[in-house]
Subunit: 189 residues, 2 copies
């Protein structure tokens, strides 16, 4: 049965939202189209009324995940608050609701440029957010953008590595705690 245009758009967005979460948790190849549709409350057959392909949804879901992250980042009052949330045990535990860059960098590196482009825009957004929260002036020669890139690389690396290590392993917590400490220190340099 046909449904209203606004309803159809809402349904589209529900699929994108489900994908934004599930892809981060299980990777692009770890979630089937039917899982995605079921998670959004539909049967799988309608998928191609909304998306050209699973890959097209991947690009859209990635953009949605980055947009959600940007909104949350803008709520942080200072760099310490932002980094503290990013490199926290809760963030490590819930990839589906946290940084898509840390969760999907490897997957995206094997995707076509259309997806990589969305990823690049998301990373630029992260750099901009960090740059905006950087102390006014660093001690030595690096520009604000250079410092922000260094901090972002460290954030993503520490979180991604922490998740790839057993939860019980000393390194899991150490990467978060030491990553946070050294990222904050670096921001001040």
């Amino acid at each position: 049965m046909r449904i209203s245009k606004t309803q159809a758009r809402q349904n589209h967005d529900r699929v994108v939202a489900a994908a934004a979460e599930l892809f981060r948790v299980s990777g692009f190849d770890g979630v089937a189209v039917s899982d995605l549709m079921k998670s959004a409350g539909f049967t799988h057959g309608g998928f191609y009324n909304h998306f050209d392909s699973k890959e097209a949804l991947a690009a859209e879901a990635l953009a949605s995940a980055f947009a959600q992250m940007t909104r949350e980042r803008n709520r942080a009052g200072d760099l310490e608050e932002m980094l503290g949330g990013y490199l926290s045990p809760a963030s490590r535990r819930a990839p589906g609701r946290n940084c898509p860059a840390a969760a999907l960098a490897g997957d995206v590196s094997r995707q076509p440029d259309a997806v990589k482009k969305v990823f690049a825009d998301g990373v630029e957004g992260m750099i901009a957010s960090v740059e905006a929260l950087l102390p006014r002036r660093g001690r030595r020669g690096a520009s604000r953008r250079e410092r922000a890139i260094g901090v972002v690389a460290k954030m993503v690396g520490a979180l991604a590595l922490s998740r790839a290590v057993p939860s019980a392993n000393r390194l899991a917590g150490e990467l978060l705690a030491t990553g946070l400490k050294s990222a904050l220190k670096e921001a001040r340099d």
Copy 2:
């Protein structure tokens, strides 16, 4: 036809070596058992004479990739040489012959603890290598291990992000160059 024990062991190692490369390039799910065996020069049926499962090979191939990296790292004379190789365009272009942590962190985070354990050992090896090349004494409070962890997180993050961005994008080179610059600076702090 049966073959000699030494030959069988060599064949086993050839499969592991092929897997160590292909998994880094295409991810665990991106390579089929038959691809792996063909790449090592065999047909797929013999796979289970050597490995209990594809996942068991993943753990073995990951360990092999980390071991290979350790050997190469130990050839570096100083931190600048090591980091310069790690964060180079050549390294970005050839994931199959470079850091398994940067290539597979996301994939490993979705694998069972047996694989994560191997990953953790590999990351510890990276930390130890960096720590050994750190200048004798930092300027401020961080311990040598803390500084090494910060550098490793930044290395892995910068390389993984660089690969997830289109080659033509400004960020691809910027992440490598700025990551390198700020990692070296950080090592001295």
